[in-house]
Subunit: 296 residues, 2 copies
DNA sequence: TATAATTGATAGTTTAAAAATATCAATTAC
DNA sequence: GTAATTGATATTTTTAAACTATCAATTATA
């Protein structure tokens, strides 16, 4: 028995007409009759009754039809999945990340990943959260490192860590004994923000922090990149508030950091990927990529 | 793609060695390599890595192996079931019944059955309950009409009806106003019983009825067939107690019947067949054969 | 009722593809 | 460094699928 027999049988069972079935199968009628006969002989069961004018399924044939349909469906599904697994391991793997991602860890993980998946072309894209969400939904990214909240039912989220905030000040700034004193200082300086459209939720969070510190920020500069903001602060262009985890990665800059005490506002950094995506490289990345700095 | 490809793949995946696999498949190595290559091309996925000395499955191959094994198992199961359905419809159907079965109904059902299942050879066997149980368990009967109790975990039971008992007397017997009067009459007559070994539970029940009527029967004759018992009674050889339902079917005999009042002892008539037997003819018979005389 | 049309089966031929044989290059083991 | 072992390749042989032509049986229609 071969799949051909099953395929031919299915068509005859649907058409209940050898000539029509043969036509649909793009073969002539005699070989079809022959194949069905062979199948019946191998099974040791009659599948059709031929009244020389009317073809009908026997009980065995009815059962076989149901089974064959399921088997053929299963085979096709398997073929597709196998192709997917292959492509996922031999194609591209696109990672999105936000500018505030801790790069040394990511670079380390990528180095290992290239050894594990030698035929996979791994690509990095620095993108803001909103753009990552769309790219993930459209299948243009495989995984994204971004900030909550993520409003999408198509994506599965995986919390990496909760990050508190810290004030970023020029090198000549004084020390502050309280949030109030810090607030007073920040209120009088030009405030460097992330672009509102670029990261709306993040922007909103910063406004809330300022309010809690007792002031409304003077929105003087806008940037859409952590590095740019830090460079602006260093040059004395103003102050800002950024995720705490960055402090460790920018020690070489001539700036001061000032803790915000007892302020339970955090930014949540997550891994996001499309629901039901079980591709091997993705699963490997999720398992391996676990920065855990300042985890709460 | 053909089943051949799946079968060949499975063997190579198990052996991880083309020559050994080819040997086990009773073909030479080159065509095996060719078929696997064809399969990989059709799937668009590499299934094996060949390091010119070591064959291993890729991730896609590992997945495919699991699926192929399940698919091939499924196909084999389907083949067996189809054969079974065919054989059950084109082979024999053996029905066991006890002598007290109401024949006109059974004959009517069989007539219909032969129309419904024209290729089925339907065979009847009059057998006592115990022999039917063994025959069913051994697959020598497909269904049995018999009396409870049936002590077998291999059989599924289907109650047909509960039958009370009735006394069978010669034509010259008087009328009785009470069970006590009847008991007194029966006590003095030779009692015709079913053979004890032949139908032990039934025999036991009759003894209990006699006790309830206030006497111990004189076991003069034994028979193993309802018709024989009735003929013996008709000839004046003695009296007996039989299932009530028989009264309707032996009206032509020169005998009297005497009801046993308020005696809640019944014999249960059941259909019995092997557990998990879903053969079409059996299911049809169970559904159709439903005598319901004296149902309680 | 006779004739034409339609059905699946059969016979014989052609074609495609699976399998066999012989051999190769690459690797491993000793 | 040599022999043995591996899967791949080239070529031929064999198998079997598919084709064409035709048939007998049945049904529809005039």
């Amino acid at each position: 028995m071969e799949l051909r027999h099953l395929l031919y049988f299915k068509m005859v069972a649907e058409e209940l007409h050898f000539r029509k079935a043969a036509e649909k199968l793009f073969i002539s009628q005699p070989p079809l009759s022959r194949q069905i006969k062979e199948l019946e002989e191998e099974l040791g069961a009659q599948l059709f009754t031929r009244n020389n004018k009317r073809v009908t399924l026997t009980s065995a044939g009815i059962y076989f039809k149901k089974e064959v349909e399921e088997i053929l469906t299963r085979i096709n599904k398997t073929k597709n999945t196998v192709k997917q697994i292959h492509d996922h391991l031999n194609g591209e793997f696109r990672i999105g990340y936000i500018s505030s991602t801790y790069h040394p860890l990511l670079m380390e993980v990528l180095k290992e990943m290239r050894v594990h998946f030698p035929y996979l072309s791994i690509q990095l894209y620095e993108l803001p959260t909103q753009k990552q969400i769309h790219a993930l939904e459209e299948g243009k990214l495989d995984i994204g490192i971004m900030r909550a909240p993520i409003a999408s039912t198509q994506l599965t989220l995986n919390t990496l860590f909760h990050d508190p905030f810290i004030a970023v000040l020029p090198a000549n700034s004084p020390q502050f004994s309280s949030n109030a004193a810090l607030g007073k200082y920040l209120a009088e300086k030009p405030f460097i923000f992330f672009n509102r459209d670029y990261a709306p939720a993040y922007h909103q969070k910063l406004v809330e922090i300022c309010n809690r510190l007792g002031f409304s920020p003077q929105l003087s500069h806008e940037a859409n990149n952590v590095h740019s903001i830090l460079r602006l602060v260093e040059s004395g262009a103003g102050v800002s508030i950024l995720p705490h985890s960055l402090k460790e990665h920018y020690k070489y800059l001539q700036i001061n950091f000032a803790d915000l005490k007892n302020l339970s506002i955090y930014t949540e950094v997550v891994l996001a990927y499309k629901n039901n995506n079980h591709q091997e490289a993705l699963q490997w990345f999720i398992k391996r990529y676990n920065p855990t700095p300042n985890r709460i």
